[in-house]
């Protein structure tokens, strides 16, 4: 069982969320049962559209996917950036490591094994923290959005006190994931191929396509960096264990054995914290905005589609006029296409502009926090002489 209460301050990939008292959402609690994570979604609201002012419901990851998909497939929201769906909780890495650890138990000292196990448990916890964070931010993005917060399915998600599984199944049959597949396949080509009439969108298109590929690359590189830090932290565990054995067996090392071990234990802690903070502040930030930019690209795609439809309707109208047949239908169709396109353009412009601001603010917050944490870690270890490592460990643990 995992209580998110004390980790409230950790949520930072998106800022300025959850400040409107009319609808406050958080995930105070989460439970990990084998492969499934059960989130407790807690809502506090002053809106009359809800039955109660304060309530909680249990939700699974699949419920979040269902909600996201229904939003994406709602025609009325075509001009909005739909907040990216939270990724599936992935415990694969720590689980595999735990398995390997179990196999290698015989080859290490009891102390080493205990430390490695502790590290893995911390890793499990970190994955847990991350997944809660990203699911919570998803809901808070919705609740802060003037239009999306009023969505009927969103309300059902928050309020419905039964299992959503049945509803989810029905929804899948209705939409069949059709639209999603379309978006995935052709968007790059369509977006870049279109002749843009609006300067704003032309710039946005260029910017987003370029930025996406760069942020994707940065995310991957940040992940590799974090993994290296973790490897080094693990090495320190094994080294400290070996030094410990050395000092236990050999009379000449005995008087300084504890000292060596504590030094490396300390180093391992610092390295481990650097890795996890970097992960949360930097890697998660990059990952999140990579997905958000994909959502923005999806918006551009929908608008591009609407433009194509409009252009096609123009051609159809010309044809109709040429043939002097079905002109009123063609005119009506063309009018609708134009309306839709204009609506998407207007809404899209607003969304993309606020997206810029949101991104910049989030980067600022996370970069500041990361720098402050790095300084804190380095400061803890530096003014003290190696001789005082014993004291250091106690200080750091406080």
């Amino acid at each position: 069982h995992y209580n998110t209460e004390k980790y409230h301050h950790m949520r930072s990939v998106s800022v300025d969320l959850n400040h409107d008292a009319s609808l406050l959402i958080d995930i105070p609690d989460a439970l990990c049962e084998r492969d499934k994570v059960k989130f407790t979604v807690h809502t506090k609201t002053t809106l009359s559209s809800f039955q109660k002012p304060d309530f909680s419901v249990p939700r699974q990851h699949e419920d979040f996917i269902w909600l996201h998909d229904t939003l994406v497939e709602t025609e009325d929201y075509a001009g909005l950036i739909i907040p990216p769906v939270p990724p599936k909780p992935d415990f694969e890495s720590p689980r595999e490591k735990m398995h390997k650890l179990g196999e290698g138990e015989a080859t290490m000292t009891k102390e080493e094994y205990t430390k490695m196990k502790q590290e893995l448990e911390a890793e499990y916890l970190a994955v847990f923290k991350k997944t809660v964070q990203v699911h919570e931010v998803f809901l808070q993005r919705l609740s802060s959005h003037p239009i999306l917060s009023k969505d009927r399915n969103f309300q059902i998600f928050l309020e419905y006190d039964q299992d959503l599984t049945v509803r989810r199944k029905n929804a899948k049959e209705m939409f069949g994931g059709f639209f999603k597949n379309m978006v995935k396949s052709a968007d790059e080509v369509l977006i870049s191929g279109i002749k843009e009439v609006d300067d704003f969108f032309e710039q946005e298109k260029t910017f987003l396509l370029d930025y996406y590929s760069k942020i994707k690359d940065s995310t991957a590189k940040a992940e590799k960096m974090t993994r290296s830090h973790k490897n080094i932290a693990d090495d320190y565990i094994h080294i400290s264990a070996t030094l410990n054995t050395l000092s236990a067996d050999d009379s000449t090392y005995r008087h300084c054995g504890g000292y060596y071990m504590s030094s490396f234990v300390f180093l391992q802690k610092v390295e481990g914290r650097v890795a996890s903070d970097q992960e949360l502040k930097l890697t998660e930030l990059l990952r999140y905005y990579m997905r958000d930019i994909q959502a923005a690209k999806d918006l551009l795609y929908r608008r591009a589609r609407a433009l194509v439809d409009y252009e096609n309707s123009n051609k159809a109208l010309d044809k109709a006029r040429l043939k002097s047949r079905d002109i009123p239908q063609a005119e009506e169709h063309q009018k609708q296409c134009l309306q839709k396109f204009d609506k998407l353009s207007e809404s899209g412009k607003k969304e993309l502009t606020s997206f810029k601001g949101r991104r910049v603010v989030a980067f600022r917050k996370n970069l500041i926090e990361m720098a402050e944490l790095e300084i804190k870690h380095a400061k803890v270890s530096s003014p003290i002489q190696p001789r005082d490592f014993y004291t250091l460990i106690h200080v750091y643990n406080m």
Binding site: M225, S228, I232, T245, S263, L267, R364
Partner: protein, 414 residues
């Protein structure tokens, strides 16, 4: 006769080894192994008044003998010369129970050579490792009061040109390993039951064997640390590049600048990690490798003592046999053969006494050597680890400066 020094004056000498770029020799087709043996090193010796060298200078050694003609001089030696010196010293002093410090060998024990990074940085690493190892090797020799007296050592340090050492193929790579392993195999194969007065030796041998095990394990771990540190350095560099690209794509001016600054910080981190990898290698991994080699020599000295004991036992057994033969001959009444046997008995009695004395002498030497080794080890190991850790901590301090410089940039984002 040296007029520069008074008879009882103790001289302080510093010794350092520098690597010269490989000089071209006459031989055209050299195998890699031979080429390697031709690596050349300069040994600089400088003799100073004892007052001028502080007691903290661990590199300085003292000699009461007026052995050096000049105050400062340099000699040039090939890598094979160092190996040759070791061969001579171990042949002469090993059997007497001395722990002869071993030189670095061709393929360093237990090390996995991982070439991460550019070709030249990896070979520059190797060169520096070798140079430092050779320097430590010589330092150990000259700090050993008995070995310092050896004329081969003095010749090695002083003579203009040394004749090329022959038969050092045995000391490269596999040959060296075989030699070390021979000593250890011999010790483990012997199921000799020695008497109680050797409990000290029994315990010590066990300590040495377990230390050897742990040091080998430690070596593998530290090498793994080096690999991971180098990977971190590479990954940081690549992240820095990526962040710079992201910064240039960013359309918000302040954020763009902050991202470029972040890229610069990460670039500086890469250098820090690279330096750390060097620290890991030279102040940790290399020292562990040294200890593994030394422990091999220590086990070798135990082996020599066992051999001396065995020789004494064998002589006693031979004497006993001769006495039995004598008894038989007395009954058989063969005066000629009896006389021969009596002479042989006398010979063996002398040998038994000699070998017993030898064994006692070797035992005393081994004991003294091991005590000396332990003391040095205890003092040095702690100092070396502290040195290593202090480098790590300095790195952390540098890190603070970089992040503190970045923080205002992050705060300036608007």
């Amino acid at each position: 006769q040296n007029s520069n020094f008074k008879e009882n004056e103790v001289l302080s000498v510093t010794l350092s080894v520098q690597y010269l770029f490989q000089l071209d020799d006459d031989e055209e087709e050299e195998e890699e192994e031979e080429e390697e043996q031709e690596d050349k090193f300069d040994i600089s010796i400088s003799v100073k008044d004892p007052e001028k060298i502080g007691t903290n200078d661990m590199n300085a050694f003292q000699t009461p003998l007026p052995m050096f003609r000049n105050k400062t001089f340099t000699v040039r030696r090939r890598f094979s010369d160092f190996l040759g010196l070791y061969e001579k010293l171990s042949e002469k002093h090993g059997p007497n129970g001395f722990i002869v410090p071993p030189p670095p060998e061709k393929s360093i024990l237990g090390m996995t050579k991982v070439k991460v990074g550019k070709e030249d940085s990896s070979s520059a690493d190797f060169v520096e490792r070798r140079r430092a190892a050779l320097e430590r090797y010589l330092q150990r020799i000259v700090h050993h009061p008995s070995l310092l007296q050896d004329p081969d050592v003095r010749e090695f340090l002083e003579r203009e040109e040394l004749p090329r050492a022959v038969g050092t193929q045995a000391l490269s790579g596999a040959g060296f390993l075989k030699m070390i392993n021979k000593a250890t195999d011999a010790v483990s194969k012997m199921t000799i039951k020695m008497n109680e007065s050797d409990v000290w030796f029994e315990e010590k041998l066990q300590e040495v064997e377990s230390a050897d095990q742990q040091f080998r394990k430690l070596h593998v771990l530290v090498e793994s640390l080096v690999v991971h540190r180098k990977e971190l350095s590479l990954n940081t560099a690549s992240f820095a590049k990526s962040t710079a690209m992201l910064g240039s794509a960013e359309d918000n001016t302040a954020l763009s600048r902050a991202l470029s600054q972040l890229a610069e910080v990460e670039d500086k981190m890469e250098q820090l990690h690279q330096d750390q990898a060097t620290n890991d290698t030279f102040n940790f991994a290399e020292l562990i490798a040294d200890y593994i080699r030394l422990l091999g020599s220590v086990r070798g000295s135990f082996d020599h003592r066992m051999k001396a004991w065995q020789r004494w036992q064998d002589a006693q057994a031979a004497l006993q046999k001769k006495r039995e033969t004598e008894a038989k001959l007395l009954w058989a009444n063969k005066p000629d053969k009896l006389q021969l046997v009596k002479e042989e008995i006398a010979e063996w009695e002398v040998k038994v006494t000699q070998y017993e004395r030898d064994f006692d002498r070797v035992t005393a030497t081994v004991r003294k050597e091991v005590v000396r080794f332990d003391k040095e080890k205890a003092r040095n190991f702690k100092r070396e680890i502290i040195n290593y850790l202090e480098c790590l901590l300095q790195s952390q301090q540098q890190l603070i400066k970089y992040w503190e410089a970045f923080l205002p940039e992050a705060k300036a984002i608007a």
